[in-house]
């Protein structure tokens, strides 16, 4: 749709009944987008600005600002708040670091499983059945996913299947996956990988199928083996869809809230706290609206590069089409 001059209607019989001002097509366009713009302006952009303003203040229990504190909230967040960022230990710890762990592990594993399943499933007749099984968790609420996996991880081997396997097959003591600081993050990450693999699989599977059969056949005729075909032909062609999935999953990580809220509330201690759960707790549990706003601003700043990528992708795309 690079440039499409849409000729405006002239001298229509219907047009006569309208005031002249409406005959200018630009007004009609503005009217069509007005509800969207008003809603987005009033309920997204305007609050966004306010949250930034909030982050420079302190609030009372009604979340009204009672005084301005300048950059204190940010200073506290990055230098004094060990729940958010603990630099006294090595490697550093805290909600921000947990989000980083999530970003790396959750994204990598969702992509890897998604790709693996897309490739394997393409080789069997029951492809659609396998894909449906993997994809179904996409429709399930994070709240339900949390309950499903809480049951899996129950410490009692007569209740949780993970510990039934651990004690029955591997003969270990029951592992309290959600009660140990060294397992809790990985346990929740795995649960969420389980839920998101379907997305990566569907996108990558579609991209794989989009690769023209002739290219692959030609390579086969040239004597390339399956691995080389994957590495030299399919994988490079998958780089764009993989990047897109990665961006989508990373945004997911930064916004991550429900599954942790329901599974552990950030516990044990603050081991599984992430930015979004801490933002909620600071604001609504502790009544520190200004401090919570500062955390929300950090979330936004983390998302900005992804937003830039989305917008630029859209721009190049326009040139292409």
């Amino acid at each position: 749709m690079s440039s499409q001059p849409v000729p405006g209607p002239v001298g229509r019989p219907r047009g006569r009944r309208l005031p002249a001002i409406f005959r200018y097509e630009g007004w009609q366009g503005l009217i069509f987008i007005a509800p969207a713009v008003v809603l987005l302006g009033g309920l997204v952009a305007y609050p966004l600005v306010w949250t930034i303003v909030y982050s420079f203040g302190d609030t009372n229990s009604k979340l009204d600002i009672v005084r301005w504190v300048g950059l204190d909230n940010y200073e506290r967040l990055f230098t004094k708040d060990k729940v958010f960022l603990d630099r006294d230990v090595f490697p550093p710890d805290g909600a921000l670091v947990n989000n980083l762990k999530w970003g790396v592990l959750y994204t990598t594993f969702s992509l890897a499983f998604g790709l693996l399943i897309a490739i394997l499933a393409a080789r069997v007749r029951y492809e659609s059945l396998v894909k449906a099984v993997i994809f179904v968790p996409m429709a399930i609420a994070a709240t339900a996913i949390a309950i499903i996996w809480k049951l899996v991880y129950e410490p009692d081997p007569d209740l949780g299947v993970a510990n039934a396997v651990a004690t029955g097959v591997f003969n270990t003591d029951p592992i309290v996956f959600l009660g140990r600081a060294d397992t809790v993050n990985y346990a929740i990450i795995f649960a969420y990988v389980w839920a998101s693999t379907g997305f990566a699989m569907v996108v990558l599977s579609a991209a794989l199928k989009g690769i023209p059969e002739e290219i692959i056949e030609a390579a086969r005729t040239d004597g390339a083996n399956e691995w080389n075909i994957f590495r030299r032909i399919q994988f490079p062609l998958l780089s764009l869809p993989m990047a897109v999935v990665t961006v989508w999953l990373t945004i997911n990580v930064i916004k991550l809230f429900d599954v942790i809220y329901v599974m552990t509330r950030g516990g044990p201690g603050t081991s599984s706290e992430v930015i979004a759960t801490q933002m909620y707790d600071e604001t609504f549990l502790n009544g520190e609206g200004g401090y919570g706003a500062a955390i929300a601003v950090v979330m936004l700043l983390l998302i900005l590069p992804l937003m830039a990528y989305n917008v630029s992708r859209f721009r190049t795309e326009r040139v292409v089409t």
Partner: protein, 294 residues
């Protein structure tokens, strides 16, 4: 589809060839089977737990239940009635339907303008809207709460409808505009030459041709709102209005790990999205691909 195409394209294999191909693929079959088991077991565990009596749940694992075969729907009775999941089910519908239809309508209107009407700053405004797509809800929670307070919208569903609508709009505009611009230009210009107004072209030409895109977005937004917890936590305060997500977290707080209630509650929460998903899977996947790969 592709499976069928593949078998047609190849010359008919002899049984021996087929067998050897099958054997060669045995590792693939085993790997897929293992993956399918890992993906099915957690949900199956929840489903089975939800129909086991409380005493059984506390005494033995759900995987042993095929031995004694004691199943009951009593948990659903309890959770629907005493735990108020029944009324929450209705609340979830009341929250979700307008929160899906509003952004669909408003978003489609805007998307039409961005595709087929020329007006000043069109592309700039569109880019701004696309940029808003990833703004986290956290950036708006407290100001929205106060805005709704000033407007008196906090004691009913109005606030959460508007909040979901606003945060669902960028994706609606983006997805639908991408679809609308692929419609044949001749068709729209022919309508214009016939003297149809923009509203008429939108309603009579563009919308009917865009059912797949509208359905894709509709499913997305429906699942998103139905599954949302954060907005419900903040914008729904009256316990008679709780949607299911919020009710389940509340149940968990009150009763702890009483899985006869939690499992049946969670299953009720899942059932509508699963029906929507299976019935409209095609649109869902299309929308997903349109929104991500395009």
């Amino acid at each position: 589809m592709s499976v069928a195409a593949e078998t047609l394209a190849r010359p008919r294999a002899t049984p021996a060839e087929r067998l050897s191909r099958f054997v060669a693929r045995t590792p693939v079959h085993i790997a897929l089977l293992a993956i399918a088991v890992v993906w099915l077991v957690p949900t199956a565990g929840l489903a089975i737990t939800s129909i086991r009596p409380r005493d059984e749940i506390q005494a033995t694992g759900w995987w042993t239940s095929f031995n004694d075969f004691a199943f009951t729907l009593h948990n659903y009775d309890l959770v629907l009635d005493n735990a108020q999941m029944g009324s929450s089910f209705v609340n979830s519908i009341i929250i979700t339907v307008p929160s899906t239809l509003l952004p669909l309508t408003i978003g489609a209107m805007a998307a039409y303008a961005f595709s087929w009407i020329r007006f000043p700053f069109r592309d700039t405004i569109f880019l701004l809207i696309v940029a808003l797509m990833v703004v986290p809800i956290q950036m708006a929670l407290v100001p929205l709460l106060r805005l709704f307070r000033d407007l008196g919208l906090n004691d009913w569903y109005l606030g959460i409808w508007l909040a979901h609508t606003a945060f669902g709009l960028p994706l609606a505009v983006f997805l639908l505009r991408n679809f609308f611009i692929t419609l044949p230009r001749d068709l729209i210009e022919a309508a214009r030459v016939d003297g149809a107004s923009n509203l008429r072209i939108f309603a009579r030409v563009v919308l009917p041709l865009s059912v797949p895109a509208l359905a894709s977005y509709g499913i997305f937004q429906f699942l998103w709102v139905w599954n949302d917890l954060l907005m419900a936590l903040v914008f729904i305060s009256d316990s008679d209005l709780f949607p299911m997500t919020k009710r389940i977290t509340e149940m968990q707080g009150t009763y702890g790990a009483e899985y006869h209630l939690l499992a049946s509650g969670a299953f009720l929460l899942m059932i509508v999205p699963l029906i929507v998903f299976f019935a409209l899977q095609r649109y869902f996947v299309q929308g997903l691909l349109a929104g991500s790969v395009k």
